[in-house]
């Protein structure tokens, strides 16, 4: 998700630098107020740790592919949002200079997209409220997955906005968003699982190292434990429900591209004449399960809601299928090479 210098206009880069500097100033002030001299070396070593961990690949169960940790949420859970944010700034700057991952001008954007959401939204709005009455395995797993998914979605959306406002691409907003968000949904989920696994281990071994855990932490620890598998199932069900509920509120107004077409042509759906068009339209009508995101010949909200769930399932099915196909061809290729 690192943005390159070429993708941002100077005005956008400047604005994001100002915003990121504001967040950094608050963080520096808060870290100073904490007056804990030990924290600075811990931040440095933790930053180096996150940087090195990003080079470890983790197998994604059932897919054959692998992912890696980003670290914003984990840093906040260990160091708190302010120290975590400053550490992420360090990680991003070193990444940008040493490995050209990101750019000097786009650093403000990258800090905002990856460090701000992960550390402030993730820690202050998700981690802390969930841990207020004490931590437990289930809470840590849920907070990690929700935090990583949500903050990565926000980051990906910001990348889209910053690139489009910069005016360097002709890609329509809807196409750009439709490409960026689902990819980062999968990435966020995997990062959430890895973060959860690490934080649960720390919680079991040395809970005092975790930030924001309430006084009643030891009492909460005795709570009935829910296995990782069950928790993932619960979160998957919640995600499916959320998909269904959120789609009920999907805007009935035309999207950016449709709006533009309506302005230019006077209609959102262009009419095309000719034999080929008629044949293609017939095939499309016959094969589309949920035309215009609802049941055929239905105006009900349930249809819209169902299409949200079906859409999410189709995306997951395609993703799993693609992963298996990738694994199949990869193993075939390696088999040929070995032979």
């Amino acid at each position: 998700m690192h943005m390159a210098d070429a993708l941002v206009a100077p005005a956008v880069a400047g604005t994001m630098y100002v915003l990121s500097t504001g967040a950094a100033t608050v963080s520096v002030k808060k870290v100073r107020e904490e007056n804990d001299p030990k924290k600075i070396p811990v931040m440095g070593v933790m930053g180096a740790f996150v940087f090195a961990t990003q080079m470890l690949n983790f197998t994604i169960p059932g897919t054959g592919s692998s992912g890696h940790l980003c670290g914003g949420m984990m840093l906040s859970a260990m160091l708190g949002p302010y120290a975590g944010f400053l550490t992420m700034i360090g990680v991003l700057l070193v990444q940008c200079l040493l490995f050209a991952d990101g750019g000097l001008l786009a650093l403000g954007c990258n800090i905002w997209n990856m460090a701000f959401y992960g550390c402030f939204i993730g820690a202050l709005l998700i981690w802390r409220p969930m841990m207020k009455k004490g931590a437990s395995r289930v809470k840590i797993i849920a907070a990690s997955i929700i935090g990583c998914v949500l903050t990565l979605q926000m980051g990906a959306f910001s990348v889209t906005l910053e690139t489009l406002i910069s005016g360097i691409t002709e890609l329509p907003f809807s196409v750009f968003v439709a490409t960026m968000q689902p990819i980062h949904l999968a990435i966020g989920f995997v990062e959430g699982l890895i973060t959860a696994a690490v934080l649960v281990f720390v919680y079991e071994a040395r809970p005092e190292l975790l930030w924001g855990i309430g006084e009643s932490e030891t009492v909460a620890r005795k709570e009935a434990k829910l296995s990782l598998k069950n928790t993932i199932v619960v979160i998957a069900v919640l995600a499916a429900l959320a998909g269904g509920i959120v789609s009920l509120f999907a805007s009935a107004f035309p999207d950016g591209l449709e709006w533009s077409m309506e302005q230019v042509a006077g209609t959102a759906e262009l009419e095309a004449e000719g034999g080929a068009y008629a044949v293609a339209e017939g095939i499309q009508e016959a094969t589309s399960l949920l035309p215009d995101y609802a049941f055929k010949n239905s105006e009900s909200a349930i249809g819209t809601s169902f299409s949200g769930i079906v859409g999410a399932l189709v995306v997951v099915a395609i993703l799993v299928g693609a992963c298996y196909a990738f694994r199949f061809f990869k193993s075939k290729k390696s088999g040929v090479t070995a032979a």
């Binding site: 940087f51 080079m55 750019g103 281990f201």
Partner: protein, 265 residues
């Protein structure tokens, strides 16, 4: 070679470049840092169809790589991380922006090959990406992280951030070597696996995390024993005339290309 080994090797190469004896390495870090930022700022400020003046902006990376005796192959290799997003964003421009700008070739009534605005904007986007990565490489190949941190302190970047950057850089090598050992040990125990199995995520990385936290305590105690009082003491570098003239000449050249030369192209 694993990803970690590649990164460690890349880091070692950079450190060797930073420590070599070359006049560009001896320039004041603040001037080099500001020059890089100004160059990238002016480069990305060109309009998406301003291809001709943008081509002239190549003079800075060309100068830096030839005079600075840097490997262009190494510089281009650094594009690998940002290239996918840049390509994804730019590749659609020719499909959405089909307004013909000019024709290549064509004679005797034939119009030649049309070049659309979308193609031009895609090429300028790629060039901006290349230039910014190459100029950042020139900076980091001729300036150590300690010197960049020194320049950041002159620019009044808070010492907390600067110290964290220095520590991350110093301990990254140690951590990367440890990550490499962990990966090698894991591969020997679990051959033919693509990455670390999910059942080992928590214990493997968790143990490493706890060891790192303990190491941070040791680092802090060592720093205290060596007289650390909340800030690193950096040797003040003297400013020579060339430290001002070099970035100033380049900045004037960039402004001339951006505001004067652009009218004639």
């Amino acid at each position: 070679m694993s990803k970690i080994e590649k990164n460690i090797r890349e880091l070692n190469k950079l450190q060797n470049l930073q420590q070599r004896s070359h006049w560009m390495n001896d320039l004041h870090p603040l001037g080099k840092l500001l020059l890089s930022v100004i160059y990238i700022f002016i480069t990305v400020s060109f309009g998406k169809y301003s291809l001709a003046p943008l081509i002239i902006m190549a003079i800075y990376p060309i100068f830096g790589f030839i005079i600075g005796e840097l490997s262009i192959k190494e510089g281009l290799y650094r594009m690998r991380l940002i290239l996918p997003l840049v390509v994804f964003v730019g590749i659609f421009n020719p499909f959405f922006d089909r307004q013909v700008m000019f024709y290549i070739g064509g004679s005797g009534g034939q119009t030649g090959i049309p070049v659309t605005e979308g193609i031009i904007s895609m090429v300028t986007l790629m060039l901006k990406g290349f230039y910014s990565v190459l100029s950042a490489y020139i900076l980091i190949a001729t300036t150590s992280i300690d010197d960049i941190c020194y320049a950041l302190r002159i620019l009044h970047v808070p010492k907390q951030i600067v110290i964290v950057i220095m520590l991350i850089y110093r301990y990254f090598g140690v951590m990367a070597a440890e990550a490499d050992r962990i990966t090698t040990a894991y591969k020997l125990r679990a051959p033919k696996q693509n990455g670390i199995h999910y059942k080992a995520w928590g214990t493997l990385v968790g143990q490493w995390l706890l060891r790192s936290m303990d190491r941070a305590e040791d680092v802090y105690e060592s720093m205290l024993l060596r007289g650390f009082k909340g800030d690193f003491i950096m040797k003040k570098q003297k400013t020579r005339p060339i430290d001002i003239i070099y970035p100033l000449i380049w900045t004037i050249a960039f402004i001339v290309i951006r505001h004067v030369l652009i009218r004639f192209l």
